[in-house]
Each structure stands twice: as structure tokens, then as C-alpha cells.
Homo-oligomer: 459 residues x 2
């Protein structure tokens, strides 16, 4: 079977890339309303792709937000069903001037595709479309397949959650497979066994009812920017711990033996610091860098603005200051409870000289994957065959809130078999995805299907 | 003489406004490079205005920045010389959507001119041009007049300082008169007897060398926005005092009797808070609101930005975060020393996990005016005649850095006879200037000239 797979990939590699580039060229930024028509175009592109690959039928399901692409190929009702999840929306591209090539004009440099979405999640999602086509065309598809491709992953998957609730029956499956995560290194394959949850909020501090001259008023009234800075500073203590009362109450502490196992993954602090060009790392006292992102919660300001931000100077005390903040949550933390705790605490932090408004954006629960299931073993075996070395389980710091929601609504576990690298700069300027990883993914996925179908037959 | 003045103003009031509006319509924002051609146009408008008003000659003096308008009328070399200072540049207009009418299309509503520059300093400066015209046309000009109108007041008067150094001789005068300040209330005229100094800086915090995904890195590395907030928060202590070591060393403490005298100016904390719609004032412990702006230094963030600031959400840890900060300085503080103290302290505040860059923007020394000089008494007498009540000396919190520089370079004191009101919203959206104040200024200025010439003759 490996020979069949490699022959098909080699014969079609150029077309695979051309088709992926067509998807990448659609600027489907879900966070920006002006791209609404592009969301529809990206969904239609996926529909066409799945139909051409051999799906029985592919539907564009309207939602209150962006459409969901649902497709399926049922070869035998008695065989297992693999449900593929991916997303066609991408992150905004600012700061635009840091891109070496236009974000929506894919360019290959040094064996990597450079473009917004090259990895997350157009590149990784498209591997599944092409692996599916490969299995159909080579007669090696061993089971039934369903596709569920959404357009709001980067803004919280709100429409997908509602849609799943209404479509439980047709989403019946044995496993969900997702490639929207990374692996430790090209020679260290890994399967993501945990994801952090997320609570994303926006805060607004109002001081005076209008912008004021900082000379005439400076020193006598609360400046909302200074106040906001003090409030944000107060969210961490000197040990790097989050100060919100009750914040850590539900955090699942990992037993020492599990911590020891996670510590086996190769990690060089020196290389990490050099790659980011930072003098030193910084985080919660008592935990390693890998633990700080993998199993511990975090609170970051993702954006801040207020007052005069153009060139030159303006002596103003602005009426308002704003920030976007997000909290990454450890296993067992409830994101809605955390959002409430944050809101109450932040409101209490504000002095009487200002007004404060907290607006929750979106969020999602953390997720932990079992590492002894048929799906996990199938992925482990597939990766071992294509990489020549057994993959490690890995706790990722990222969040795919919908993964935990799938479990809640559909009762389905997900297998997170990602092929991205830490250097792919997802969400950043110059996002990229190595061609090697793209084709390695297409090569590995059919083996997962074969292994999974076999293991399911054995049970 | 009061009759002559009033008759002339009444006969020409409509034309005065038309001409002022012509100046206001030129968007001469010195902080924004794209308005470079508008700076030239505004200077030429002033040149034409002074020539038409009766100046002997008016020159546009080129500088490295915006041109300086210099004009004069010498009626008798033995008579005193009054040097008028004003500026034709204005502040930026953002946030534009808060303006009820376009900032550069003056509109009269409720007896007030609404426009950027209506008060600061096109409206107030223009009063001097029209009072000059009035004195020339009615044969009441009692002394020599020189005009020095610059285009960089809002960005630090850099070119004017250099130009003054080179033109000491022709700037020979007995007093500088300036209307670029406010009065306590329409029925409480005042003369500004003190101005705070200024040090304006920009800071840049660099964390990782690129924007990062906040899920994959959050908790493990220093987020430059969080760090910047902590550093800004650390600039004040719990008593509202600035924590920079040595910051208060040179601050001139006002003797109790002078504090008592300043406290006589009418001030309602309740009205102040209501007008700004704030729950309570906030400032340095141990000082009143008037003292906090009048005689005490202050530190305010004038702008802050970093990360994702558009609609929606983006889970990013930005590479950089920025802020613009300014410090208002009390009498006797040296702004260049303060800039150095700030820079050193801010650099030391930064943890090893980030890089910090401090860029000084501009600054200027504080200024204190004597209240027993001929010029002060001339202004006091003129205001008493037109307002029917004796003006109070007032310590303003604002800065006109160039005023102290005039004293240093030209050896000249300035008399700060401003007609603005606290409600004029200078530097803010919907800046305005009441017609009553505009015409009251034109009425008062010729009386100042008459009194000043008489007092100077008496000495």
C-alpha cells in the first residue's frame, strides 16, 4: 500500500499544490466583516474539491455566520466512519508590512509554502481532501468518510456548535480526525494528546467623558490608559501566577510520573530562546517552559490601544482605553466559569475614578485525549510507518475549543494528528508550511484509515 | 478709546469671522507629515492678514521645519515694542467620528465656533491680528509691534528656538504677549502666571522577534504588552506620586501663603467631576485638584498600542508594544534632566525577558511670570476695564515650552493673557471658541497696548 500511495502522490503533486494555492488565494479572514463574500467563496472551493475527489454528495449548510461544508462518502454502512474536521477561515494578516510576500499570494521559498493559511488550516486541511481523493482513485478507501469543514474556527466556532446540535444524527461516526496542530520536530513525530481551553475577553476603561488636554488635566484625574495598565499589571503576581481569586481551583495537577514522561520530549531552552531572540523565558514559578504552555493556564494581552497612536506627539488624556485579553486554560478548568471570575475581579480592580466594561468574546473547554484507543494506536502506527520512528504524545498550548465541544455534543473523541512545525509562524506574518510536511501528511493519512479500520474490525 | 474700539469691532465683526474661518479651513496639523503643504498655506494666510492689517513688512522665514511668519510695524524707534507670539499649527483631529461637524469646516452653534484651532491657537492668535488692524485703522496704535507666528508649537517649537537664536537683534522688544491660554470663567478673568514644563517620550518594548500564537507560547514567554503595562504601572506609587528616583528633587514647593492665595480662585469639585462625568478625581496625595494641575508635576500615558486592535479577536502575542508618555513639570524642574531620569529608570524597570527603547520626543522648561511688572499691570488693568472685575493670577497646568525658551534666548518675559475657557475642548473633538470671548479679546488687547505704553513711559 505504501507504494500505491507514493506513486499517486508523485504523479499528482504539482496539481495538489495548484489546487491548494487556489484555496489560499481566497482571503477568508473570519474576524473581518468585509471578507464575508470570501467566506462563501472558500466554502464553495471546498465543496468543489470534495466533489472532484469522489464524495457522494457535498452540501453548503447555511448558518447565522459562515457556511459549513458537509460532505460524505458511504461505501458500506457496516464499516467504521471517520469524520474529518478542518476549517477554511484564517487569521487576520496584520502587521502587513512584515510579510516578505503578499499573504494571499502563495510563494514557495526554500521548500516552504509562504502564505496566510499555508499551515493553519488550509494546508493541513487540504491534506485530508487529497488523501481522500488518493484512496478513492486507488481503490484503497477502507471505510466511510464524512467531512465537516467550518469557517469560524479562528473566532470561536459559534455556528458550528449550533449546527452540530441540530445534525447529531448525520454526524454519527467512530472518530473525528483533525490536522490543525503541530508536531515536535520533523524527525520527532507526535500526536497532540491535550489542548488548552480558552476564554477571550475585551475590556474598556472609561475615564473622562471626552479626550482632554494632558497639560490642563494631567495629575488631577485618572488617565484611563494608566489605570488600564495598573489593572493589567495586577493580574499577575511576582511568581507569574494569575491573581484572579479561584482561578486555579479546578486546575488538574499532573502527577509526577506524567510530568516526567512529558519531560522526555526533546527541548532545548537555549535554542528556544535563540529562535525567539529573547534574553530569557518568563512564566509561572515551579514549572518548565514545556509545562507552562502544555499543562498550565496563562493570561495574555492580545491587543491594547488608547489615545494618540500616530506619528509624532499629542498631549491628550483619552476618554477611553481598550484591551483584548485571553486566558489559556488547563485541563478541568471551565471556560465559562473563568470568564465570570475574570469579569468580576476586573470590575473590582477598577478604581472609583473610572468605569469598566468587560465583553466576553468567545471561549472553549480544554481537551485531553486518551492514548490507548484504537484511533490513537492507528495514528501512532501510521506515523511510525511514514516517519520511521514512534510518535510521542504531546500537550499543546493551543486551543481548538470545538474539539471539547464535539465530545460534549456528539460524544466523539478526536484524534489530533497534526503535521505543522513550531517554525510555521501560524497567526504571524510569513506563515509557512514545508512542502515535505504537506506531502508527508497526505502519505500518512491513508495509513491511518487502514489501521483504524483494521483495529475497529478486531474489537 | 473704549467707544472707538467697540464701534470698529461692530462694523467689522462679520469680516473678522470670515477671515478667521479662512485660516481655520487650512488643516495645518504639524504632527502629520502629509499636511506639510498646509503649513505653508497657513503661514501665507497669516502673512497676507498682517500685511492687510497694516504691517510695514511681513516675511515668511524658512526653517528646517515649518516657516515662521515675521512681521513688524515700527512707528517710532523710541517707543516701546510689543512682540506678539502665536502659532498657526493645530493638533491632530482623531477620533474623527466624535466630531459633530467636520473639524476643518468651522460651524457656529450656540454662539460658539466649532472647529480644530477655533481656540488653540487660530482663534486666539487671530484676535491679535484684528486688534492690530483696529489700532492701525483707528489711529490708536501707541507703540511698535512685532509679530512672530510659528507652525510647530504642538510638536515642540524646534524650528522657532533655532530661529530665535539667529534673530535676537530683530526680535528686540519690551514684552512678549501671548493669547494661548485660558481664563478661569467668563466672569472670572485671569492672567496665567505660571506654566508647567514638559518632557514627552516614546517607549518601545520588544519581546519575541515576531508575533507569536498565544496558545502555543502563552505562559512561557514575556508578552511585551503585559510587560509594558507592569512598567507603566510601576511609574506611580499608591499615593499617586511618580516613582522615578530623583524626580521631585528640584520641584519648587510653594509657600503656604501662596498656596492659600491660589486656593481663592473659585473651584467646585462637584461641578468639575460632573462636567467630566467621573466618579472621583485622582492624583497626588496631599494636594488639591487645582494644585495638582497648577503647581505639581504629573505623568500621563498619551497613547498606547500593540497587538491586535481591530474588530473581533486574534490570539497573538505581539513582538512589540508601544506607548507615548509625557511628564508635566513644576517650576524649577529641568526637562532635559527629567528626560534622562525617566530614560534610565524605565530601562532599569524592564525585565531581562524584553528589550526596551526610549525615544525623547520634545520638551520644555516650566515658566513663572512676575505679577508686579508693567506688562502684568497693563494686562490686569485692560481686563478690569473690559470685564468689570479684576483678574486673578492663575497657574496653568499646560505647557508652552517656548515661553521659557524666550526668556532664556531673548531675555524677554511673556504676558499670558488668554481668553479660552475650560469648556473649549482644545486638543479634543469638537474644539470650540465662544464668539463672545473672541470679540472680548479683540476689545481688550488695544487697552493692553495703551496701558503698557503709558506704564513704560512712566518708568
Amino acid at each position: 500500500m505504501k507504494q500505491i500511495i507514493q506513486t499517486y502522490i508523485e504523479a499528482n503533486s504539482r496539481r495538489f499544490l495548484d489546487e491548494l494555492f487556489g484555496l489560499i488565494r481566497i482571503p477568508s479572514i473570519s474576524a473581518e466583516k468585509k471578507h464575508k463574500p470570501d467566506m462563501q467563496r472558500a466554502a464553495e472551493y471546498w465543496q468543489k474539491t470534495l466533489l472532484n475527489a469522489g464524495a457522494d454528495r457535498v452540501e453548503l449548510c447555511p448558518t447565522d455566520g459562515n457556511p459549513i461544508v458537509y460532505g460524505e462518502k458511504i461505501i458500506d454502512p457496516h464499516k467504521p466512519v471517520v469524520l474529518v474536521y478542518a476549517h477554511y477561515d484564517v487569521m487576520p494578516v496584520d502587521p502587513l508590512d512584515e510579510w516578505l510576500s503578499p499573504p494571499f499570494e502563495p510563494e514557495i521559498r526554500d521548500g516552504k509554502i509562504y502564505a496566510r493559511g499555508a499551515d493553519d488550516d488550509k494546508g493541513q486541511g487540504f491534506m485530508h481532501a487529497k488523501a481522500f481523493e488518493l484512496m478513492v482513485c486507488t481503490g484503497t478507501l477502507p471505510c466511510n468518510v464524512k467531512f465537516m469543514i467550518e469557517g469560524e474556527e479562528e473566532i470561536g466556532s459559534g455556528s458550528l456548535v449550533e449546527w452540530c446540535k441540530k445534525n447529531k444524527e448525520r454526524l454519527h461516526a467512530d472518530i473525528i480526525i483533525v490536522s490543525d496542530t503541530g508536531m515536535i520536530a520533523p524527525d520527532v513525530p507526535s500526536i497532540t494528546a491535550g489542548l488548552r481551553g480558552l476564554s477571550y475577553v475585551e475590556v474598556e476603561i472609561t475615564g473622562p467623558n471626552r479626550d482632554l488636554h494632558s497639560g490642563l488635566y494631567g495629575g488631577a484625574i485618572a488617565n484611563p490608559i494608566n489605570v488600564l495598565c495598573r489593572m493589567i499589571a495586577a493580574l499577575h503576581d511576582a511568581d507569574g501566577r494569575i491573581t484572579i481569586p479561584g482561578f486555579y481551583d479546578d486546575v488538574q495537577e499532573l502527577p509526577d510520573n506524567e510530568r516526567a514522561r512529558l519531560a522526555q520530549a526533546p527541548f532545548s531552552l537555549d535554542k528556544y530562546q535563540k529562535a525567539l531572540d529573547i534574553g530569557q523565558v518568563q512564566g509561572e514559578k515551579g514549572y518548565s517552559t514545556t509545562e507552562r504552555t502544555g499543562i498550565r493556564p496563562a493570561l495574555d494581552v492580545n491587543g491594547i490601544w488608547g489615545g494618540y497612536t500616530e506619528e509624532g506627539s499629542k498631549t491628550v488624556i483619552p476618554s477611553k482605553a481598550f484591551a483584548k485579553l485571553s486566558m489559556r486554560l488547563a485541563p478541568n478548568q471551565d471556560w465559562q466559569k473563568i470568564t465570570r471570575l475574570f469579569t468580576g475581579y476586573f470590575e473590582r480592580l477598577a478604581p472609583a475614578s473610572v468605569k469598566v466594561k468587560v465583553t466576553p468574546h468567545h471561549g472553549g473547554p480544554p481537551y485531553v485525549s486518551p492514548i490507548d484507543s484504537a484511533a490513537y494506536r492507528a495514528a501512532e502506527q501510521a506515523l511510525t510507518e511514514t516517519f520511521g520512528t514512534s510518535p510521542l504524545p504531546f500537550r499543546s498550548g493551543g486551543s481548538i475549543p470545538v474539539i471539547a465541544t464535539f465530545e460534549e455534543i456528539l460524544g466523539l473523541k478526536s484524534i489530533l494528528m497534526g503535521f505543522g512545525l513550531g517554525s510555521d509562524a501560524i497567526h504571524s506574518p510569513n506563515e509557512n508550511y514545508p512542502l515535505w510536511n504537506f506531502f508527508k501528511g497526505i502519505e500518512t493519512i491513508p495509513l491511518f484509515y487502514a489501521n483504524f479500520t483494521r483495529y475497529m474490525g478486531e474489537t
